[in-house]
Symmetry: C2
Subunit: 386 residues, 2 copies
């Protein structure tokens, strides 16, 4: 593992698979390359850092021309996710362009698990994700298998291994999954949804049926994240994208409590190092205290939360990640710098903050402004860590 | 005003207008019918009540077959809003069906103001509201007039007068407007929007231009709400439907501070009675303390907020309105009753709570379940007011 060469850029899929088969065989016995930049991992554990680490949700995405080029080569979106070589290529693209980025995140989709459970994920142009089969009854849910990581989703762990090899210790790699509640909405609705009417109907009217679905997702997601950790992910994030659509009680019962089980079941240490977990409920700003009580390492904040207040209420228990409004990237470098300064000042001195957007970067963001964002975080944060 | 006959149901528009012209002339000199049920107004002022008052956002809406019939007669949606007789008819429909409802709300649209400012509102079937002209530059905003209530929007005040006459003191009538920020999003985007990209770009990049738009809306909305109060509205609600899309700082600067100006400028007393104002920022659960500091009478809560915690943090300053998840109406009467009981218990004993949904009732709600909702509130709340 020490003598890895330059990044692959044109290996065919078969070569990669054969390489990964070897890698799986030997990974238990070989140590991974030494991590050259561990600022991100240290901040998640609230250990001292020299500046605030930064990455950006969806940093490998459509705002990048090089991403759009790879995506065009891949054809549809799922072909890109399912091809470890291409997933690796797009994962690394933002790092090549922006030297300040302190973490890579596996390029994949949150719906790989429902797909592996047999629902048949596909994407309609301009329509978002769809499933060939949606879950509409107790019988549908009863028949649903949990994922078998040795059979399904090996394309994800193969990608993780390949990315780790190609990163060569440059920055840590984040693995991720959608939350049980978030995945359940897609599985019951069969697609994106505005108000999750069918899912909530099932949740409110047949909670015992809905709990079976949630339990199967807890088992599957735990196995999925642990497989990513074993393959080389050095931190993991749970994306509870639609948790904010729930009532206080429903959030605690159907989203947070299942996430607690996942957090409890995660591998805590790998390669001699703590593997921190981040929990991000978009729209969850009112529930941060309960989220911190899960003993997860860090909480993601969307831009509606005042990070100063968040730190005051939960800062001793967890690190915080966030939380610039992605729309600030529609402005100009000076305005972006001002916003970064405001958020850094609101968090204040000391470690425990990973800078990020409050949600994924949008396709309309321009690459120069994104560069200004990364640069501003590193430049302006130094003063908070002396 | 004492000897009003049965409800009009087939007056033509011309008759109504002529009636309303008379009414406008004499309304200053005649007293309105005595209010038979003031539970809603009393609860907003935290005065003792015999049970928790209830109404439902969008209670005159598509879930009601009688509404769909009137709407079909009217043709398009705006023709319904602009016809005081029909607006009156649909306003009263839920009261006829559900005897427990403690307040009527003017049937209208939040986009009447931008329409009156000359943007040309229209509705595409299945597409939501559109404007013929959107605001894209400082020049567009400079050219924008504020509304003239003596010229524009008299169809709204005519409807208010007619509804008051037809209500005949049965329950109070709520007037309403969209918030400056919420109206601004439609005016800049030209339609509904997922992430308010153009509006936020203008707000972040040209705040001084955006403030001009917001100021014109503050003036217009204040005049609009005061005209509704003078015409007979006995309480008013400001719908800040999209305030929850803003960052902490942007919310305070571009949504809450303008709403504060409106609250300050509202007529406080009419017909010898306090006219309470309700402020509802959907997704604003993190900002309730600042909202209460506006000295508005009541805050609307969406279903993500724990009403027990909300009362603990702001309950002495304001009344609270809400906050059942509208999706509970997809279940059954028993489940609805349980949810109502949970919310009543969370709020606890004493006045200061107006029961409502956390957002508008959806077209898919069934009328029997809605009836169970209203009945449960009145039946179960009595114990909290002895």
């Amino acid at each position: 593992m020490q003598q890895v060469g330059p990044r692959v850029s044109c290996h065919d899929y078969r070569t990669i698979l054969s390489y990964n088969a070897q890698l799986r065989k030997f990974s238990k016995y070989t140590s991974m390359s030494e991590l050259k930049n561990d600022r991100f991992l240290r901040a998640l554990l609230r250990q001292p850092v020299d500046r605030t680490p930064v990455w950006m949700m969806r940093q490998a995405g459509r705002y990048l021309p090089e991403y759009r080029a790879t995506r065009a080569k891949a054809g549809d979106f799922m072909s890109l996710c399912e091809n470890p070589q291409m997933a690796c290529e797009v994962t690394l693209q933002p790092l090549d362009r922006y030297p300040q980025i302190d973490a890579a995140i596996l390029f994949s989709d949150i719906l790989t698990i429902p797909d592996a459970m047999g629902l048949g994920l596909y994407f309609e142009a301009g329509e978002g994700p769809r499933f060939k089969k949606a879950l509409r009854s107790a019988k549908d849910i009863e028949a649903l298998p949990v994922v078998d990581m040795h059979k399904d989703l090996t394309y994800v762990t193969d990608a993780v291994r390949l990315i780790r090899r190609e990163l060569n210790g440059q920055v840590p790699l984040i693995g991720f999954s959608g939350s049980p509640w978030t995945l359940a909405t897609y599985m019951v609705e069969g697609s994106n949804s505005k108000d999750y009417a069918r899912t909530k109907q099932m949740m409110y009217q047949q909670p015992e049926v809905f709990e079976v679905l949630i339990d199967k997702l807890v088992i599957s997601i735990t196995a999925y994240l642990n497989a990513q950790i074993e393959a080389g992910a050095q931190a993991v994030q749970i994306f509870d994208s639609w948790g904010g659509a729930l009532s206080y009680h429903a959030y605690h019962q159907f989203s947070l409590s299942p996430m607690q089980k996942i957090v409890d079941g995660l591998i805590k240490k790998c390669e001699g190092r703590r593997v921190p977990a981040i929990l991000f409920t978009k729209g969850g700003g009112q529930w941060l205290k309960s989220m911190a009580d899960t003993k997860v390492d860090a909480l993601g904040l969307d831009w509606t939360t005042n990070i100063a207040e968040a730190r005051r209420s939960v800062g001793d228990k967890v690190a915080l990640q966030g939380n610039m409004d992605p729309a600030v990237l529609y402005t100009n470098p000076q305005r972006i710098r001002d916003e970064v300064a405001t958020i850094l000042q609101a968090y204040g001195r000391g470690s425990g903050h990973v800078f990020n957007l409050g949600h994924g970067v949008t396709p309309q963001a321009n690459t120069e402004n994104v560069g200004a964002f990364f640069a501003a975080v590193h430049e302006l944060s130094e003063a908070y860590h002396t």
